[in-house]
């Protein structure tokens, strides 16, 4: 009775969900995850705005007024914040908060996390071309335009932590140059 014995791996993943771990995620799950991410970005923008307002209030409380924001400035800040958020999340964690809630993650070659450059490129691509996500509806491998261009994929992975090595589950989807991948 040693740890070297090839015993079946114990998993905290529900039995009914194990069979599709590592397979490409569909549009519904990914859209919900992106919506949650959008909500997270919105919360972050509101927090930033309130923080900015609080700083102004502390500097001159008597003449305080909520700062006026233009649509262009707001849109610019929102795009930058979203890009930074997705970049850091995919690079450092392999998944954003929305992906974490929906049990999916962004994978690079052989199921590993994205590198900083590819994560940044994918974040920029997703933020400025979000409609590319819907290509995964018709893609036979459930890949978005971003996945096809950057050779990434989005797969179901209910494990809280992203594995450091190759994905042990079904072969990483869309990692061959001829198999574009999912996502956003």
């Amino acid at each position: 009775m040693t740890g070297e014995d090839a015993a079946p791996e114990l998993s905290s993943i529900p039995r009914e969900a194990r069979r599709f771990q590592g397979t490409p995620a569909g549009i519904v799950t990914r859209f919900v995850a992106n919506s949650i991410d959008a909500l997270v970005v919105a919360v972050m923008l509101c927090t930033m705005y309130l923080g900015y307002s609080a700083i102004i209030f502390m500097l001159d409380p008597r003449t305080f007024e909520f700062p006026a924001v233009t649509f262009l400035a707001s849109l610019t800040v929102a795009l930058v914040v979203a890009t930074l958020y997705l970049w850091l999340a995919w690079w450092l964690l392999g998944r954003s908060y929305g992906a974490h809630v929906m049990g999916i993650r962004v994978a690079g070659r052989r199921g590993r996390k994205l590198g900083p450059l590819r994560a940044l490129a994918r974040a920029w691509f997703c933020v400025f071309f979000p409609i590319g996500l819907f290509w995964c509806v018709v893609s036979p491998h459930r890949r978005s335009v971003q996945d096809v261009v950057l050779f990434t994929s989005v797969v179901y992975d209910w494990r809280p932590r992203t594995p450091a090595g190759p994905d042990p589950q079904p072969p990483a989807v869309g990692e061959s140059p001829g198999m574009p991948g999912a996502a956003s």
Partner: protein
Amino acid sequence: MADARTSPGSRVVPRVSPDAQRALDVTLGLAGMTVGAAVVAVRTAHRVTAPVTRLLWRPPLLPRSLHPATILEEAARTGRAEQVALRRRFEVLLDAWAPVLVEAVVERIDLTRLVREHVDLDALVASVDLDAAVARVDLDAIAATLDVDAVVARADLDAAVARVDIEAILDRVDLDAIAATLDVDAVVARADLDRVIARIDIVRIVEEVLDAIDLPAIIRDSTGSMASETVRGVRMTGVSADDALSRVVDRALFRRRHPERPGGPA
């Protein structure tokens, strides 16, 4: 006149020359003739002197107790009694000395060699009714006197077992049939499970199991913030919706289901 030669069996056999043999025959012939003449003479003298002898043995004028015949008969009876007494004394002496003498003789004789050379043991054994002898033996009583433990202790059981082809024996044994006859419940009922469990190092086993399954990691995964039933339900709903939508698209595009998808063919 005579010499002796030694036979191969170291037995001394006297050899008589022809002349000596002839002289001996003559002597014996003369002696026979002399004896025959003497017998004839005695018979004749006895026939002639018989009346006189009877008169001398039984004189008519003497009382019977003084007759020479009576006196001799009395002497004969006395002699016969003495003979019986002497025989008894001789037997007593024989009983006392015979064992001592036989022992002294046997000590000086190699009886084994003597029997081997002069006794036909095969013929002797062939004449013995061994079946009748064995039938008279009480084997149960003999077996009861055996110290079986001592016999087994002296036996080299390891060497005996090493010569046994145990695999061949096991091949002939129907272990399934034997096991089917076992009353496992009764065996377990007699087992002292508490003692068995007491000998098991449960702590060490648990530590090995925990090392093998990485229980802390499982606990961390299971108790994560995203492990609730609600989140699980949302995820499963999303997976089902993905699958349903993919089926619709595949059907609309006249496309076969992709094997990598959750609902795809295996």
